[in-house]
Point group: C2
Chain length 105, copies 2
């Protein structure tokens, strides 16, 4: 099941722009008071780092991700999620677009 909308309390108006715009997200606070972001990764192969643990939930499009250098590349499509540890890096490659919700903690 794909999460098309989320209840929100407030939204940060300035976008987060990473990798020259290959990834753009907007941060918001849910109705329950949790910090999350919604974003999109455009065609690219990128390495992201985490501070807190994150769950990336795909809401449209798809990606492949690699949690450990040299490890398996796994697919993630709409309705699927993957979890990344805190203080970790992961690789992601996108052919078309990967629309996601980022859940923290």
């Amino acid at each position: 099941m794909t999460t098309e909308t989320l209840n929100a309390r407030s939204i940060t108006t300035k976008a987060n722009v990473y990798f020259d715009g290959k990834c753009v997200s907007h941060s918001f606070v849910t109705a329950e008071g949790e910090n999350k972001s919604v974003g999109v990764v455009l065609p690219a192969e990128l390495t992201f780092g985490t501070a807190a643990p994150e769950i990336m939930e795909c809401v449209a499009g798809s990606c492949e991700y690699q949690l450990e250098e040299g490890g398996a590349w796994l697919p993630c499509t709409a309705g699927q999620s993957f979890k990344i540890a805190g203080n970790a890096k992961f690789n992601i490659r996108v052919k078309d677009a990967f629309h996601y919700i980022c859940h923290y903690g």
Copy 2:
């Protein structure tokens, strides 16, 4: 004064991607029930079309915009807005990034 956050009711998780990602926005519904979007235009010169009238409010960065072909290019920076009629086109050019709230109607 710059609008850094907005009260929201719900957010659409899938981004709107225009011009191969030169413009990315996320749609949301305000606490008052109005449809708006927050977005960013990256370095580019683009022509946008409107359906309903729009007010583009700059929340960070800047752009220059031209409401009529051959007309003046006007600057818009954080805290400023410009209004576009419905069923109209406008040109925008961005050197760094133009972060905006789009108000409809």
